[in-house]
C-alpha cells in the first residue's frame, strides 16, 4: 500500500483513506526483527493502565491475518527476511507498516552481512517513529499519525536552538 518514495502527497491522500477506515479501531501486530527488546517493553507498556491503548481504539493481535498495522522494531537482521515478508504478506490490505526505534530507522547498526540496518530495505514503511526506546507517548503519537488522527510535527522542527535559551523548536 505504500506508494514509491518521494510521493508525499500521495501518502497523505492514503493517510486520509486509512484514517477513515482505521481511525476508531485498529489492530496492531508487533514484529521484532532482532531488537534488544527494550522497544518491546515500551510497546507492552502501551497496554498498561497508565497509557491504555485500548481507550483509543487500538488493540494488539498476534495473528497477522487479523492485523491492520505492523509495528516493526529491530535492525532487520538478514536471517529474518523471510519471516518479515511472510508476516507482511499474511496481512490483508489495507495495511500500514510503522517502524520504530533507532535501530529500525537505520541508526546504531550500519548495514553489514548480518543486518539490513533499516527496516525500509525489506518492508514498505509508512510511518517512522524515532526514539531509543521510543516512549509510550511517542508511540501513541506515532500511531495517531499513522491513522491520521494526529498531525505530523517533524517537518516543522529544526532542532536549532536559540543562543541562550533552552528548547530549540522553530
Amino acid at each position: 500500500m505504500n506508494p514509491s518514495r518521494g510521493k508525499a502527497e500521495a501518502a497523505r491522500r492514503l493517510r486520509d483513506t486509512i484514517a477513515a477506515q482505521f481511525g476508531r479501531s485498529l489492530h496492531i501486530r508487533t514484529l521484532d526483527t532482532g531488537s534488544c527488546a527494550v522497544c518491546e517493553q515500551e510497546i507492552r507498556l502501551l497496554a498498561a493502565p497508565h497509557y491504555d491503548l485500548q481507550r483509543l481504539g487500538f488493540f494488539f493481535t498476534p495473528a497477522p491475518r487479523h492485523a491492520d498495522l505492523l509495528l516493526v522494531t529491530g535492525p532487520m537482521i538478514r536471517a529474518f527476511d523471510v519471516a518479515a515478508r511472510k508476516t507482511y504478506e499474511a496481512m490483508p490490505g489495507p495495511k500500514v507498516v510503522v517502524a520504530t526505534g533507532a535501530c529500525a530507522l537505520g541508526g546504531v547498526y550500519p548495514k553489514d552481512p548480518f543486518v539490513h540496518g533499516n527496516v525500509g530495505e525489506v518492508l514498505p514503511v509508512d510511518v517512522w517513529i524515532p526514539g531509543c526506546p521510543p516512549s509510550p507517548l511517542a508511540l501513541l503519537q506515532g500511531l495517531g499519525v499513522a491513522v491520521g488522527r494526529l498531525a505530523e510535527r517533524t517537518p516543522g522542527l529544526t532542532f536549532i536552538a536559540g543562543p541562550a535559551a533552552d528548547g530549540g523548536e522553530a
Binding site: 495473528a63 523471510v82 519471516a83 518479515a84 511472510k86 508476516t87 499474511a90 490490505g93
Partner: protein, 673 residues
C-alpha cells in the same frame, strides 16, 4: 415366483463363480468372469432380500436336496433375514466391482476368489436356513471359507496368527452355538426353525436361559462382543481389503443375526434379565471398542475396533428391545428391533466402504500407518470424497444414514422410563449414556481417522507418490450411493422394516412410526419427531446460503493469493503436523486406567558419557488386557490339563492293554446293571 427361487439363482451363481475363480483365476478374463457372476448373484440376493422386506409375510419352507446327514436341506426366507440378505447382496456387488482392480490374477487369487464366493454362498445359506442342521453346516462352512480368505497373503507370522485367532474363536463359538441349538431342539423335539419357534413354550425356563446365554456367547464370538472380540483386530489387518470388508460388513452381522434369531424367534424370554444382560454387553462393547480404536495407528485395526463398537450398538438395541418386550411394551420393542436392523444395514454399507477405501490407500501408498500418510485429498480425490461419505455415515452426522439409525436407537432407549421399574429404567439410562459417550468418541475417532491420512500434507514420500488412476472406485462409490439412499429414503426403509418387525414380534407399528409420509416418531406420538428427508433438504439449502452471500457481495478489489500463515517459518515440514497419536492423546490421559500403557523412553544422552543429546526413542504400548488376563490363563489351564493327562499316553503296550481290559470290564458291569 418367490424369494427362495431368486435365492437359488443367487446361490447357483455364487457356486459357479467359485468354480470359475478356482479354475480361471490366473487369467484376467477369468477373474472378470468370476466377479461378474458374483455381482449378478449379489444383485439377485439384494432383490430377494428387498422382496422379503417389502412382502414381509412370504415365508416358504422348501425341502432341498439331501445333505450329508441324510435329512433334507431346509431353506426358508424370513423377513428377519431379509435385511441381512439385502446387505449381503449389496456388499457382494461392491466387492465384485472392487476385486478386478485390486487383485492381480494369479493362482493364489483364484483360490482366494473361490473361498470368497464360497463364503458368500455359505452366508446366504445361513440366512436362508430353515433347519438347525442346515444352519450349523453353513455356519461352519462360512467360518472355514473366511479362514481361507484371511490367509490370502501368508507372508508373515502375523497373517498366520490373525487367521488362527479367527479360527480358534470361531470354533469355540460354534461349539457354544451347537450346544444352544441342541438344547432347544431336544426340548422341542424338532429341527426346523419354524417348528422350534412355534413350540418355544415347551422349553422350561432354566433351559431357556441357558440356551440363550450359550447363543449370546457363541454368536458373540462371531459378532465381536467384548471380551470375545480379540480376533477382530488381529485378523482384519492381515486380510486383503475386500476380505476385511466382507468380514466386517457381513460376517460380523451374521453374529448379530444369530443373537436376534434366538432372542426374538426361538427363545424369547419371559423375564427382563436376558435383555438387560444383552444390553449391558452391547453397551460395554461399544465403549471399549471405540476407546481401543483411538489408540490405533493402523487404519484397518482402527476400523476393526470400530466394528466392535457398532456391534455393541446393534446388540444394545436388540437387548433393549428384549427388555421392552418383557415389560409388554411391544411398540417400543418393535421400534428398537427396527432401529437395530436399520443400524445393521447402515453399518454394513459404510464399514464395507471404509475398508475398501483403506485397501485403496494401502494399494496406492504401500502403507496402512496413519502417521505415514497425509495429503491424499490431492492425490486420490475421488477416493477421498467417497471415504468422506463413509466417515460422515459412521460418525453418525446428519444428514447421512448413521445419524438416522443412532437417533432411532437413542429415542428408543430414552423411553426406558415407560417400563415402570426403577432398576430397569436406570440400567437403560446407563446404556443410553454409554452409547452417548461412544457416539462422541466415535466422532473424535473418525475425525482422526479421516483427517490424518487424507487431509494436510503428505508425511512421507510414499504418501506423496499415491496416484488415482487404476484405483478401484466403482465398488466404494456404489456403497456411498447406498449410504445416501438409506439416509434420504429412510421412511421407505423404515416402512419395510416395520413390516419385518410385525412378522417377528407380531406388533404393527404403522402410524406409530411414520405418521406422515416423511416424519419418523419413536413409537409414541408425544415424545419426539424427526424427518430425515427434510433434514437433508434443509442442510443442503443451508450450505447454499453462504455461497449465495459470497456471490452477491463478492469483493471488487483484486485478491492476492499468499501461502498459509505458518508463523513465518522458513521451511514448514509435513512432520510438524498433528500425528494420529498426539491427536488422540487426551483420551490416553483420561482413560489411562483402561489402557494401562507401558511407556519406555530411551534417550541417547543417557548412554553418552558426556551427556550429549541425540535421538530420543519413545515407545508406548497399550496393555492387551483381554489377552493377558482372560485368554492366556485359559490357554495355560488347558495346557496344564493336557500335560496332566499326558501320562495316559505313555506308549507302553501293557498299559494300553490294561485300558482295554478295564473298558471291557466296565461294559460288562454296565450291561449287567
Amino acid at each position: 415366483m418367490n424369494p427362495l427361487d431368486i435365492l437359488y439363482g443367487a446361490g447357483g451363481a455364487w457356486l459357479a463363480a467359485a468354480v470359475t475363480g478356482l479354475l480361471a483365476g490366473s487369467w484376467r478374463p477369468g477373474l472378470r468372469a468370476c466377479c461378474g457372476l458374483s455381482a449378478l448373484a449379489g444383485a439377485a440376493a439384494t432383490g430377494a432380500g428387498g422382496w422379503s422386506l417389502v412382502y414381509g409375510d412370504t415365508r416358504v419352507v422348501a425341502p432341498g436336496p439331501a445333505t450329508i446327514t441324510g435329512g433334507p436341506l431346509q431353506l426358508q426366507m424370513t423377513s428377519l433375514a431379509g435385511v441381512f440378505v439385502a446387505l449381503l447382496g449389496i456388499v457382494a456387488v461392491a466387492i465384485a466391482l472392487y476385486v478386478p482392480r485390486y487383485h492381480e490374477p494369479s493362482r493364489g487369487t483364484g483360490v482366494y476368489l473361490a473361498a470368497c464366493n464360497l463364503a458368500l454362498l455359505a452366508c446366504l445359506a445361513v440366512l436362508a436356513a430353515g433347519g438347525m442342521v442346515t444352519f450349523l453346516v453353513s455356519w461352519e462352512t462360512m467360518s472355514l471359507a473366511c479362514y481361507l480368505i484371511i490367509l490370502r497373503h501368508p507372508r508373515s507370522g502375523e497373517t498366520a496368527r490373525g487367521a488362527f485367532w479367527f479360527l480358534a474363536l470361531s470354533e469355540i463359538g460354534f461349539l457354544l452355538v451347537v450346544a444352544a441349538f441342541v438344547i432347544v431342539s431336544a426340548k422341542t423335539h424338532a429341527t426346523e426353525l419354524d417348528v422350534i419357534a412355534a413350540r418355544g413354550h415347551l422349553v422350561p425356563g432354566g433351559w431357556r436361559a441357558a440356551a440363550y446365554l450359550l447363543a449370546l456367547t457363541g454368536f458373540g464370538f462371531k459378532a465381536g462382543l467384548v471380551p470375545l472380540h480379540v480376533w477382530l483386530p488381529e485378523a482384519h489387518p492381515v486380510a486383503p481389503a475386500d476380505g476385511s470388508a466382507f468380514l466386517s460388513g457381513v460376517v460380523v452381522k451374521l453374529g448379530t443375526y444369530g443373537i436376534a434369531l434366538f432372542a426374538f424367534r426361538l427363545v424369547p424370554a419371559a423375564g427382563s434379565w436376558p435383555g438387560l444382560v444383552t444390553m449391558g454387553a452391547g453397551a460395554v462393547s461399544a465403549a471399549i471398542g471405540i476407546l481401543y480404536a483411538l489408540r490405533e495407528r493402523d487404519i484397518k485395526r482402527f476400523l476393526a475396533y470400530s466394528t466392535i463398537e457398532n456391534t455393541g450398538i446393534i446388540v444394545t438395541a436388540f437387548g433393549a428391545a428384549m427388555v421392552f418386550h418383557a415389560y409388554r411394551l411391544s411398540a417400543l420393542s418393535a421400534f428398537l428391533l427396527i432401529a437395530g436392523l436399520y443400524h445393521v444395514a447402515n453399518h454394513g454399507c459404510y464399514k464395507t466402504l471404509l475398508f475398501l477405501e483403506a485397501g485403496v490407500v494401502e494399494h496406492a501408498t504401500g502403507t496402512r500407518d496413519m502417521d505415514r500418510l497425509g495429503g491424499l485429498v490431492h492425490r486420490l480425490p475421488r477416493s477421498t470424497v467417497i471415504a468422506f461419505v463413509g466417515t460422515l455415515g459412521i460418525a453418525a452426522l446428519p444428514p447421512l444414514n448413521g445419524f438416522v439409525s443412532e437417533w432411532l436407537i437413542f429415542q428408543g432407549l430414552f423411553q426406558g422410563f415407560r417400563t415402570g421399574s426403577h432398576l430397569t429404567a436406570i440400567l437403560i439410562v446407563l446404556a443410553a449414556a454409554t452409547l452417548g459417550l461412544t457416539g462422541g468418541l466415535a466422532i473424535y475417532a473418525f475425525v482422526r481417522g479421516f483427517g490424518i491420512p487424507y487431509l494436510g500434507m503428505p508425511r512421507t514420500p510414499k504418501a506423496a507418490a499415491a496416484r488415482e488412476p487404476g484405483q478401484p472406485v466403482a465398488g466404494p462409490a456404489l456403497l456411498a450411493v447406498a449410504c445416501a439412499a438409506l439416509a434420504v429414503g429412510a421412511p421407505v426403509m423404515l416402512g419395510a422394516l416395520s413390516r419385518t418387525a410385525h412378522t417377528v414380534t407380531g406388533t404393527s407399528l404403522g402410524p406409530l412410526l411414520l405418521p406422515g409420509k416423511l416424519t419418523v416418531i419413536p413409537a409414541h406420538t408425544n415424545f419426539s419427531a424427526f424427518s430425515p428427508t427434510y433434514l437433508t433438504v434443509f442442510l443442503v439449502a443451508a450450505c447454499a446460503v453462504p455461497a449465495l452471500i459470497y456471490l452477491a457481495g463478492r469483493p471488487r478489489a483484486a485478491s492476492v493469493s499468499v501461502p498459509v500463515w505458518d508463523g513465518g517459518m522458513v521451511s514448514f515440514r509435513p512432520r510438524m503436523q498433528y500425528s494420529a497419536m498426539t491427536f488422540s492423546a487426551p483420551t490416553r490421559v483420561t482413560f489411562d486406567a483402561l489402557y494401562r500403557p507401558s511407556v519406555s523412553v530411551r534417550r541417547a544422552s543417557d548412554d553418552d558419557p558426556a551427556g550429549r543429546s541425540g535421538p530420543v526413542h519413545y515407545e508406548a504400548q497399550v496393555t492387551p488386557v483381554f489377552d493377558r488376563y482372560l485368554y492366556r490363563p485359559v490357554i495355560r489351564a488347558v495346557e496344564w490339563l493336557a500335560d496332566a493327562i499326558r501320562p495316559m499316553q505313555s506308549g507302553d503296550v501293557n498299559l494300553y492293554l490294561l485300558y482295554v481290559f478295564l473298558v471291557i470290564l466296565l461294559a460288562y458291569l454296565l450291561g449287567a446293571v
